[in-house]
Each structure stands twice: as structure tokens, then as C-alpha cells.
Amino acid sequence: MMLSSSLQLRVLGLLAAALVLTGCQSLFGPPVSVPPRSGPPSGTAQPSPQTPTPPGQPPAPVPTPPTPSAPPKEFRLSAASTALVKQGRAQSLKGEYPAAIATLERALRIEPDNPLVWLELGQTHLSAKNAPQAESMARKAIALATGNPALQASGWRLVGDAYRARGRDLDATEAYQKANASSPR
């Protein structure tokens, strides 16, 4: 049997809960050592976090998950990818987008499952005015960032930015709402 039985999962869940209670959880924080890039502002279309429940709709049921939520999964760039990401950003700043994309694809060959690389590629495609690819890469990052709501929120913000770049403001708002639902700012 390759996968933990749900029994083992439940026991692990209890263990995770115990860890949370004893205050061992300090895994949040900037996952990358590369400074955050200054992208287009993404906060303008965000709704207030206290959006009331629309009238006529019952409040959403609170699901009771079988296991207490695990601590967020951490993602870091390897040293080699960090260097390539820095190089890619420098190329991007000079407007050399095809070169920047080729550089980031090299990082992807090193760690194809790292959502941070996909997010970076998505940002670069957005700078290069290729919004559809920016959106796809962001969605890919969101899928790979399962288990890290903060990183998934960054992905949804990029999806929102990509929609806005195409004038799809309603879709953008929806994406920003998903970002806030994943990880309220």
C-alpha cells in the first residue's frame, strides 16, 4: 500500500493538531529569498473582506474536514533557480522578454514542480503582454501550490491581473475574490 490509510492520516491529523496547540507552527513567511518584484498593482479591484452573504442565500455550511488542517506546505527556490530568476528579472526589466522566458524555462528544467518558478514565468508573460499564457502559468502555479494558501493567493492575483490586462474585469474581480478567500490580506 503506497498511500497512508485514512486511519494513519487521522492519527497524523491529531499529531498536527497537537503541534499547533503547542505552538510549533511558525512556517509562514516569505518563501523566496529573491525580493518581491514590483508588478502591476493587484489590490484595486479587491472586495472588502467582510462581503456580506447575499440575501436569499443560506450561509455557507461550515464543512467539518476529517482531519485538522496541516501546516502550509513550503516552497523554496534552489540556489540555481534563484540565480536564473534574478537573471530573468534583469532581462525582463530591459524588455528582453523572449530571453527572460528562455532563462526561466531553464529554471523550470531544474525544478519543474516548483510553483514559484511558474509564477515567475507567468509574471514575465504578463509583462510581455501575453496575458493568456500569464493566466495559464498562474493556474499551473496554483495547482502545484496545493497546501500553501498564501502562494495560491499570489497565483489567483496573477490570474486576476491577466484578466484585467485583457479587459475582463468581472473575471478579474472573481479571481481577486478567490485570492482573498485563499489567504486574506
Partner: protein, 368 residues
């Protein structure tokens, strides 16, 4: 890599028999083609079976039938479907009566068992229920070029396809529902190193992540319990892979397609003149596939489960929820939260007692 794959292929076949084979290996996430073998004579520059052969895909089509079913949200891995005799009256008035490979009838089976044992009757019933046009759309979203003829036999793989196209559509599964055009060339560069033409990675989401995750979990069960289990003894322990066998009518084509965490590999074995090979997908292509995978520096599948899903253990034969203390043949599947199946009678209490005890042990441990 190419040389290694060639060796694997020829090591498996009788040198005197003109049995042919084709192999495609790609990098799972980027869609880059790593190895492409078009036949026994690898230096031959003519007909390349990996690119040019169009052969019936057989049961390699089934994952796309089951994915289409999962996407309706009316089915999950534990849903019991009927494996029963089928008689479809075709438009031309003739009757189509498919059979299981074993010629047996299996009766009620959970979806995961029908897929991992590649049951034909259960799959045809499922495919007709979800609709042939929907299955066609799924295949085309994932990158099938030639639209299949929409007849009930398409649910069993009466769909012509090249090995490279199989790699294309299975890549979309390996990436959790994202299609990237397979690429063999990254860029064309001039003498002085200037890029003339680049072929950047392009990605499109073609299926929901949670539907593909549920399917892939079932394709892992294929490798543990189903038609792919013979690979287990060849693969390194701990290398989690997902895959599917395919066999066309009268054993003319033997296929295996599957993926690890970092590679997609497709193997086809057959004769150019379409003679029967005597191999099923499991007895032919799988043996090559397993040795190829074992020889690659590859990683186990480790996709994180979307939080809309739950992992449950079920009895393989019945689809009922169970734990080790009350069932022998357990498989782990992923189902949408809230769709967990009913417990096997008598099983829940035993399992619950054990969880309670584990909780007590843990509390005792923490107090100490």
C-alpha cells in the same frame, strides 16, 4: 537516454522476428521530448512509427472515458457500475456485442476496479451513459488530432493514434490537467548564437485539477492492483507511477502508457502488416515500459491532493469503505469531500475504536 531506451527495446524482443516497436519519453511538466524511437532500425530515416503510425489505441482510451465520467460529478472512484452483457444495435442494423478480455461477466464493480482491470463491458456502459460526443471532446481537449468515429466501440479504443499523440494526451494527465504542446526543439540559433526562432513553453488548462487527481489515483491503482502490476517487480520500490495498458483486437497492438512524477513514457509493440502479436498490453509493451522507467533517473508521483477531495480506503472488489483490520484487498482512492462511500458492514466500529485508541495513546504521549 535515447541509447538506453533502444537497448531496453531490443533486449525484449526476438531479434529474428520482425516485430516492431516505438517508444516516446517526455519530460512531464515541460512537454519536452527526451527520447523518440521509431522502430528497430533507429538510424532509419523513413517511416517513423512513433510519429507516423496510426494504430488503434485500445484500452489506452479508457482513462479519458473515466475522466469524462468524473467530470459529470455523477461518478467517483467508488461508484458501483454494472459489468453486464451489452448488445448495441448500430445504425446499419447490425449488433455490436463486446466482451471482456477474459470472456467473463463481473457484475457490480466499483469504477476503480473496472478501470484497473480494464473491464470492457463496464466501460462501454459507462461511456454510453456519459455520451460519446463528450468523450470525443475530452480527447480533443487533451490533444487528439484526428476526431474519432463516434461509434460505441470508441469507448474500447477503436481510435487511431500515433505513439507521439498518446504521449501528448497522457502528458495532460501527468500534469494534472494542463496541456503543453510537446516540443523537440527549444530554439533555433544562428551561427553567432543569436536566437532566430524560439519555441517557448505554452500551457493550457484542459481539465479541472480535482477530476484529474481522482483519475490519476485510479491509474496508480492500475499499477498496484490492475493490469500494470507486473511492473512492480521491475520498478524501484517507492517509485509511484500511474499508467494504463492497451490491447487492440486480436492482439494486433500492445500498448502501455504511463507516467512518474517527472516523465511520461509510451511504448507500442506490433507488426507493420498488422498481424496479431500474441501480446496484450501487459505481457508485451508493459515489460518494455517497466524496464525503461526503472532505468530512467525519475521521481515518484507526488502531486498534492486538492483540498476539495478526501482520500479513503475501500475494498477493491466492492467499493465499500474499509480499513486493514476488516478487509484484505484495500486500495486508496480520492473522492470529492462528502462523497465518501458507506462503510463495509461491521467495519466502521472496529476502525473507529482503533482511531479512538490511537487518540488516547497520543494524548498519553503528549502528557508525558
Amino acid at each position: 537516454m535515447h541509447a538506453a531506451a533502444t537497448k531496453k527495446k531490443s533486449g525484449q524482443t526476438d531479434e529474428k522476428a520482425p516485430l516492431e516497436a516505438a517508444v516516446v519519453v517526455t519530460a512531464a511538466q515541460s512537454g519536452e521530448v527526451i527520447a523518440l524511437i521509431g522502430g528497430r532500425e533507429t538510424g532509419y530515416n523513413g517511416f517513423d512509427r512513433a510519429l507516423d503510425a496510426a494504430r488503434p489505441m485500445g484500452s489506452l482510451v479508457k482513462p479519458f472515458v473515466y475522466l469524462t465520467a468524473l467530470e459529470t460529478k455523477r461518478y467517483n472512484a467508488t461508484t458501483v457500475i454494472q459489468d453486464e452483457p451489452i448488445d448495441v444495435r448500430l445504425r446499419n442494423g447490425t449488433h455490436w456485442k463486446p466482451q471482456n478480455f477474459t470472456k467473463e461477466i463481473y457484475g457490480p464493480v466499483p469504477l476503480v476496479r473496472a478501470l484497473s482491470e480494464s473491464l470492457n463491458l463496464a466501460t462501454v456502459g459507462l461511456g454510453l451513459d456519459v455520451g460519446l460526443p463528450n468523450i470525443t471532446r475530452t480527447l480533443q481537449r487533451f490533444g487528439l488530432q484526428r476526431p474519432p468515429v463516434e461509434v460505441p466501440a470508441m469507448t474500447l479504443g477503436a481510435v487511431d493514434i500515433s505513439p507521439l499523440e498518446v504521449a501528448q494526451i497522457y502528458s495532460g494527465l501527468a500534469t494534472g490537467g494542463f496541456r503543453s504542446q510537446l516540443r523537440a526543439v527549444r530554439a533555433v540559433i544562428s551561427d553567432d548564437g543569436k536566437p532566430l526562432k524560439a519555441f517557448p513553453l505554452e500551457v493550457t488548462q484542459v481539465a479541472a485539477q480535482d477530476a484529474v487527481f481522482q483519475l490519476n489515483r485510479m491509474l496508480e491503482v492500475v499499477m498496484e492492483h490492475g493490469t500494470g502490476r507486473a511492473a512492480r517487480s521491475v520498478l524501484p520500490p517507492g517509485l509511484v507511477v500511474a499508467g494504463k495498458s492497451g490491447t487492440s483486437s486480436e492482439l494486433r497492438d500492445s500498448w502501455f502508457a504511463g507516467f512518474s512524477g517527472s516523465h511520461v513514457a509510451v511504448v507500442w509493440v506490433g507488426y507493420d502488416d498488422n498481424r496479431p502479436t500474441g501480446f496484450t498490453g501487459s505481457s508485451g509493451a508493459l515489460t518494455v515500459w517497466a524496464r525503461l522507467m526503472a532505468g530512467l533517473d525519475t521521481t515518484p508521483r507526488a502531486a498534492a491532493m486538492p483540498d476539495t477531495l478526501a482520500s479513503v480506503n475501500i475494498e477493491f472488489a466492492t467499493g465499500q469503505r474499509a480499513e486493514k483490520i476488516c478487509a484484505d484487498d484495500l486500495v486508496a482512492v480520492a473522492v470529492p469531500l462528502g462523497s465518501e462511500p458507506a462503510w463495509k458492514p461491521g467495519c466502521e466500529n472496529e476502525a473507529a475504536t482503533l482511531v479512538e485508541k490511537a487518540g488516547e495513546w497520543l494524548r498519553d504521549m503528549i502528557r508525558k
